[in-house]
Symmetry: C2
Subunit: 384 residues, 2 copies
């Protein structure tokens, strides 16, 4: 096995009604003023907003509010949050929503303690040395942002969808109540499922060495996501399936599965970021377009994980079934698998490839992922 450090200090509070204890947790941690950060208002419809405010007030926690985070969260909103934190002496972020809200909150938590432009951290011009503590209450399971230090933000001006990562951005406490996730639309459940599968398999398919135990953990996660998505599309109120889905999503990107692996990379995420940066498609929808296209290009370069995935997940001896069956499953659950189905014209390919290559450069992957190569991959995503 390769050397690794594993450190994940986030506490997960999992269960029905756990969000009602948020004020108590903050009080115990000595926090008096938070920025309550959320999305487009769905937390008000499901009663979560009132429940959180109640808990804060009961525990004497002051709060300022910043809603309006969109899917693929924006730098302009992050800067708004940073201003509030600086002016109001905010001590912690309380992010209530999905991965986008958590990611936006992490960027705010970073920028709140930095004098210059927070985008510096995204383009490698500055290193995160401090950040405000962050708490989350999740209404969507997908990004595992609730148990990792990653955040992805889109800079509207430069059209870059870039990431930061630091253990300082790991939430202190993340609250996972499966019931709060039951109102997610079928579409977004499907996109989330694709995202979780992608997190689990990127390193599995690209590592030059992948320990059996890590492969088994990946397969455990993928099987669980496929199984519970199928259940939830029929019965959105199955709390056990919802809970397993949420826990699988967390395990897919909390540092467990890549431990001990060698040379693994995230090419599908890298390419997808261009789709959502330029065409604002949901991240999971972009991934279901990219993954089969990338696999078709990649398979013969590294056949073993395709054989293994086919055998363990699909009980098939044919490595090609990994691509075919995954693509079929994406379609079945309602996530697009061609550019056309994602409302992106084929003519956008050169521009997408150019954008993705910018990220490839930042990640040091541009010797393989040239503009031409990314074009070749995306050509596989043209509708027939």
């Amino acid at each position: 096995m390769e050397s690794f450090s594993y450190y994940n200090p986030t506490k997960i509070e999992f269960g029905i009604d756990k969000e009602k204890e948020i004020g108590k947790h903050l009080k115990k941690d000595g926090i008096k003023t938070v920025l309550l950060h959320y999305g487009m208002g769905s937390i008000k419809k499901i009663g979560l907003y009132d429940s959180v405010i109640n808990s804060l007030e009961q525990n004497g926690i002051n709060y300022y509010e910043l809603g309006g985070v969109v899917s693929n969260p924006l730098l302009s909103k992050v800067n708004e949050g940073i201003d509030i934190c600086k002016k109001q002496n905010i001590q912690a972020l309380l992010c209530v929503g999905g991965g986008s809200v958590a990611d936006s909150g992490k960027a705010i938590a970073t920028g709140a303690l930095y004098e210059a432009d927070v985008w510096d951290f995204f383009i490698g011009k500055a290193t995160i040395e401090k950040a405000l503590p962050l708490y989350t209450i999740m209404t969507l399971a997908a990004t595992a942002s609730e148990m990792n230090g990653n955040a992805v933000v889109t800079n509207e001006q430069t059209k870059q969808k870039y990431a930061i990562s630091s253990v300082l951005l790991n939430p202190v406490i993340s609250i996972i109540n499966p019931k709060l996730m039951a109102s997610v639309s079928e579409e977004y459940l499907a996109y989330s499922a694709v995202d979780v599968v992608a997190h689990a398999i990127e390193v599995y398919f690209t590592a030059s060495y992948h320990p059996n135990i890590s492969s088994r953990f990946v397969e455990s996660i993928v099987k669980t996501v496929m199984e519970t998505t199928d259940i939830l599309l029929k019965n959105p109120d199955d709390n056990n399936a919802r809970g397993e889905f949420a826990w699988a999503a967390i395990q897919a990107l909390n540092g467990l599965t890549p431990s001990g692996t060698k040379d693994g990379i995230f090419p599908n995420h890298m390419i997808e970021h261009s789709l959502s940066a330029l065409y604002n498609v949901p991240h999971g929808a972009g991934l279901s377009v990219v993954i089969p296209a990338w696999m078709k290009w990649y398979k013969d370069q590294n056949i073993e994980p395709f054989k293994r995935f086919a055998k363990e997940i699909l009980h098939s001896d044919d490595p090609q079934s990994t691509i075919d069956e995954l693509q079929r499953w994406f379609e079945k659950i309602g996530s697009p698998t061609t550019l056309e189905k994602a409302n992106i014209p084929n003519s956008a390919i050169p521009q997408l490839a150019e954008n993705a290559n910018g990220l490839a450069k930042l990640w040091g992957l541009d010797s393989t992922y040239t503009v031409e190569t990314i074009e070749t991959i995306l050509n596989n995503a043209k509708s027939i």
Copy 2:
């Protein structure tokens, strides 16, 4: 899924030569004086002792020493350590060895900040509210003590082998270098393998609800332990197998697998503690005696996990194969499966049952695990 809290703040530093950085870690954490705690001197034979001392001296860390920890660590040694900590103003424990050394160190870390008898914590008379920080360098993988807050200690006077548990006892940093584990004897490798399998399966077999994702994680661990033990018995220097074994051991008891399960208990550990408390058999050897005996008694009360284990691990449709094949595997790797093979006379059964029932009372399991029931179970471990 059931409600749960998951919080594991231990940092794992995994890889060849990582022990050489221990002084640097301690210095970074502001620690100036440690108690270096170890076992019967094997760390001197493999050069680890010198390597650790070097790293401490290079980083200006003062150290006091307490060696001599035995398998099934003793309360008398713990009290010796507590005295040193109190007299010398020790700031942290540095445990170098296997699970016994880590467990002994955790008890010392607890008692060092307590004015009365440390055994109070083991018998439920006191609750752990503070402890010295603890660092480990592991030479044996089995107990997962390197990534949990558990410690098991034997009180020689009362013949009780009891446990404490608190997240305050989670090591701050645990260093896992698979190469340091290569000198473990074949016998102890086998006992360790049994212990890890037991940690993984106790809740799997006893829970009234066990999410599929948790079952899959358990099966991933069991498959990995069986596979890598077989490899290591042939080739002890296979670092990849050694590393996977060590990582599986950690995952088996770091809080991952029971998350979301309901009503799971540890009856095999409970009964085994009487064997090692009264006859000082290695813990894993005791477990391989108890597990098949317990399974024979238990199977028809809860057939489903036996069916599942048979199918997933053994590719068999017969739930009885779970018991037969596990017993056969324990024998194959060299761990005893009868009292006689563990050098315990059948006549000891009443005394063992009495002792185990004492722990059953402490754990609130004595309505099921009466003295008579435990005798019935242990009768299944008589040699034919």
